[in-house]
Point group: C2
Chain length 342, copies 2
DNA sequence: TAAAGTATCCAAAACGATTTGGACTTACTG
DNA sequence: CAGTAAGTCCAAATCGTTTTGGATACTTTA
């Protein structure tokens, strides 16, 4: 069934060693012999057994990605773009990606132990850092290569390689943008409190208000679940309890899209009666109605760079142990405009 | 560093065999001995080397998924929902998912050979079947377990296990829906011709027209790339060359969303001046403006069932070799309405 | 009391590759 | 012509498990 080195050896009359070395391109094999062996191998459709290679070489040529499966739809576009970037880079470097989804908590840690402790992957990419993240503690203790999409929360040490967007500055930028349009009452829809970057975004909001000389009001805050529905409900609540708001900042695009739905549902003209801005610049942002003002985060590129960093670490390149903070880019579209009183 | 059976053996004084059998729960190990071994193993943080287990047991406990990476964003929600379903089921059955992205063509086939021929996965899930799909030919020849999301094209044999939605009937349903609202000029935005299901959707359209007593007009057809931009451009073209159209059927939701953008951009009121319907019922459909009339396809559930089928096949359960065709569910929302002349 | 059974344990052989450390020829060098 | 170098090849060890086929000692049975 499966062709092994042994079969080629038997057929050609050479030893397994020679077959292996011929295929691997070592110089101590006669050119004719190698040609003969290569031809036979090809004829038999030989494909090395990856598992055996991995065992012998002690490398899996795979990186692990454990997806928090609580998100109803994995946060759709964000994850799929990140994954796309990761897998593109991994493919180029001949790495596979081992994915497994698990609920945060004990099940998730079991998955990490199986993949990491079980030597099934050479490194891991972590996404959606949480506060006091047990995964990071585990990987750090294991001294297993890993890179993270997103720093640790503000008051925690980020002593690991990561790529993150300066969301603090980005939110400041959004506040400034809205302030410059004339907005004075700006609400904020935050990610869940246990998400690591929530702190940065809240700080950015407060700094932005301060810079604009606007007061901070805790009633203008709402937490959402990062999905459309979370944004929808948060906006519903804010708009009914704080009708003086003329603008909403949602901490990601999906929640912004949900907020737009809520606003339209209440008969508000988004971009005029109410401005709504997001964060991510998902493909959906450009095609929403109205198109969404947001901060662009190069998710695909981040995925690629994360994979490249991780593979560098796996290969022992210590210079890959870096911490990168990217600046987001403000993308102004029609969902934000000067406030109008009807 | 890494704890092996040998280490536990040395520490406890028992043989590797006994350690292995104790951990595996065999009856020929004394209860006290087992307790002692288990405790020591736990103390050392023993985690079996998955690679070695795989080699010895000749199973990888992993299923493969090769993503066509041509799609700019992997078709975002669709893939991420499918993946979510697959990984949820796989996780429950203790299978991992090996993902690798590759451009359709030679690179893709290399990836298949590496994963399948290299014994790195026990089975493969195929998505986005294409006409005359070389991947299917390869897997069939290898007699490697695989399941497919989507049948082969209409004129090709579908002699493999799959799950598909009866998109022919679904498109008929959409045509009937639009016809019942009063539409007589209905355009169609199709997937690329090499996609296997394109044929079914076109047939459904033609049958729907026939059932409604409407003539078929080839000028009412446009091909898109399954992404928002494809729908946008296809709609642009149709609306400018065939201004008599009062309704557009897009063969997936993303293209429908793109088409809505195009229509709104031309100042049309979607659901009144122009009705637009889609296919999939992605999360985005519910939150679009106007909300999208579409046919629901249980993507997450399909992912789960595909994974369950595949794992059944891997375990040798021949009853898992089935072909399932699901009926879509018409979801009427505001993007379709009676045609109005302005 | 011999035979048969039971309870525990283990050495060695897999799984399929890579790599080490030579062996054996033949050709070159001083 | 002895000694060294170069060119080919290969047996065996190794990676970390699981499993086979006993071995050994102690109990029970006839």
């Amino acid at each position: 069934m499966q062709v092994r080195l042994k079969d080629i050896a038997k057929l050609t009359g050479y030893s397994i060693t020679t077959i292996s070395r011929a295929l691997a391109g070592y110089a101590d094999v006669n050119a004719e012999t190698r040609a003969f062996i290569l031809q036979t191998a090809h004829q038999l459709g030989y494909q090395p057994n990856g598992i055996a290679q991995q065992l012998r070489q002690q490398i899996a040529n795979a990186i692990g990605l454990i997806i928090p499966s609580d998100a109803h739809d994995l946060n759709g576009d964000f994850f799929s773009q990140l994954l796309h970037g990761i897998s593109a880079e991994a493919a180029e470097q001949h790495f596979d990606i081992l994915i497994c989804s698990a609920l945060p908590g004990e099940e998730e840690m079991r998955a990490y132990r199986r993949l990491v402790g079980g030597n099934r992957v050479d490194g891991v990419i972590l996404a959606r850092t949480r506060r006091d993240d047990p995964r990071i503690a585990y990987l750090r203790a294991k001294k297993h290569p890993f890179v993270v999409s997103g720093r640790a929360a503000p008051n925690e040490p980020s002593d690991f390689p990561y790529i993150d967007v300066d969301s603090q500055a980005a939110i400041r930028m959004l506040v400034a943008h809205l302030h410059s349009l004339g907005h004075r009452q700006i609400g904020l829809i935050l990610p869940p409190p246990d998400v690591a970057y929530t702190g940065y975004r809240l700080m950015g909001y407060q700094e932005g208000l301060a810079a604009a000389g606007l007061p901070f009001c805790a009633d203008y805050l709402q937490y959402g679940d990062l999905a459309r529905s979370g944004g929808f409900h948060a906006a519903q609540h804010l708009l009914s309890t704080q009708p003086q708001l003329t603008a909403l900042i949602a901490c990601n695009d999906l929640m912004a899209l949900g907020a737009i739905s809520a606003a339209l549902g209440r008969g508000l003209r988004v971009g005029a009666d109410l401005s709504i801005v997001g964060f991510d610049d998902l493909p959906a942002a450009e095609y929403s109605h109205p198109p969404l003002t947001t901060v662009r985060q190069p998710i695909y590129g981040i995925g690629r760079r994360l994979a490249a960093m991780l593979i560098g670490l796996i290969r022992g390149d210590q210079s890959a142990h870096t911490q990168i903070i990217l600046q987001g880019e403000l993308i102004v579209r029609a969902s934000s405009g000067a406030p109008q009183t009807r």
